[in-house]
Symmetry: C2
Subunit: 192 residues, 2 copies
DNA sequence: TTGATTTTGTGATTTTCATCACAAAAATGA
DNA sequence: TCATTTTTGTGATGAAAATCACAAAATCAA
């Protein structure tokens, strides 16, 4: 167990709820270390979504095939949990995909093991609730922004809120994430 | 205490986690019954957001003033909790507004009382987490749809997912919610 | 290293939607 | 009820972005 890799997980969890050493160890023991090559899928539509992926390094995209086009709906960078909440909670077949956009290392946490943690101690429940509050706030803010801002403003918004995206995610994917044609985003970026 | 009004709350809570009679009573006792006239504000930007509003009857809109225009970001109908999560969790001044779009009755639950419930029993924590999972799933799905669909498709999407919105919310507000000009939405609706 | 593939850039054209302007209809409240 | 305010409808116009087409650049894999 690499301590530097574990510490990014610890830091992240502590943001949402402080864990004792024992609790963190318990959490970590429930995880499996996994690696994915660039363009390798973590989840394919039609499959069952069996657990969440804590990103240690690399990047993961969430997309859905709509009219044959890959529409990106989210990106996960180190320190976040890649997931597709709907199929994770309902345990129905996913209609979305998770794909590594670069070589990626993760801690995989099986859904059932997560549920076990929830049962074991309210501490994890609290942590989960706080994490969800954070994600929902972010998601709401983002979607409000995308809906009310013009294309150029959306780019600027992303520059302020998620500058890492602009560095690490190819423009093609960002375009669908922002609801723009690839060419439009390319022209916006060229202006600056 | 009106039992019909209480039962809509009970039904809603039970969707997310079954409560015993005692637990539900405890929850209900933490609430205050309140009424709002049409166009009355439940929260004004600049204020502190002190608690959440469970809608018994009526309708509430969440909007933000952007360039002097009211941009609607959410609507709350009976059986849902009207809130603005960011200011609720951070306890900073809200930059959004909650307004009754029609005569509205609510159970108001003070934030501190909610936190007390969380402390009292993990049952509430579990309920809160499940509710948040549900909200985040919905929010993510909505924002993905708005971003990838064309205006007409957005209207159809709403027709399928939230037909109540189309009945009870004025077109003007729906337009900003869908990220369209009012005139465009009017024309889309005329076509059908 | 080099050929192949993927990603990005850029012009020309078309389509769509926002904007403006005003009329009609509906809702409100005294 | 009736005047006032709010909401909705509809045409004309212009601006912005999507689409199409292709070239350039970057990345990848053997």
């Amino acid at each position: 167990m690499n301590s530097k890799e574990a510490s990014i997980l610890l830091d992240t969890l502590n943001t949402f709820h402080k864990l004792s050493f024992e609790e963190f160890t318990e959490f970590l023991n429930a995880c499996n270390y996994q690696t994915f090559k660039k363009k390798e899928h973590l989840l394919i539509s039609g499959e069952y979504h069996r657990g969440i992926y804590f990103i240690i390094s690399g990047s993961v995209g969430l997309y859905e095939l709509i009219d044959g086009k890959e529409m990106y709906q989210d990106f996960y960078l180190p320190g976040t949990f890649a997931h597709e909440l709907k199929s994770l909670t309902t345990q129905q077949q996913s209609d979305k995909n998770l794909i590594a956009l670069s070589a990626t290392n993760v801690y995989y946490l099986d859904r059932q093991k997560l549920l076990n943690l929830y049962e074991k101690s309210p501490v994890y429940e609290r942590l989960g609730r706080n994490l969800l509050e954070h994600l929902l706030t972010q998601q709401h803010e983002l979607s409000s922004a995308l809906q009310s801002l013009k294309p150029e403003e959306r780019y600027q918004y992303l520059q302020e809120k998620n500058p890492e995206f602009l560095q690490s995610i190819p423009l093609t994917y960002l375009a669908s994430y922002l609801g723009l044609a690839r060419e439009t985003l390319s022209r916006i970026r060229a202006k600056k």
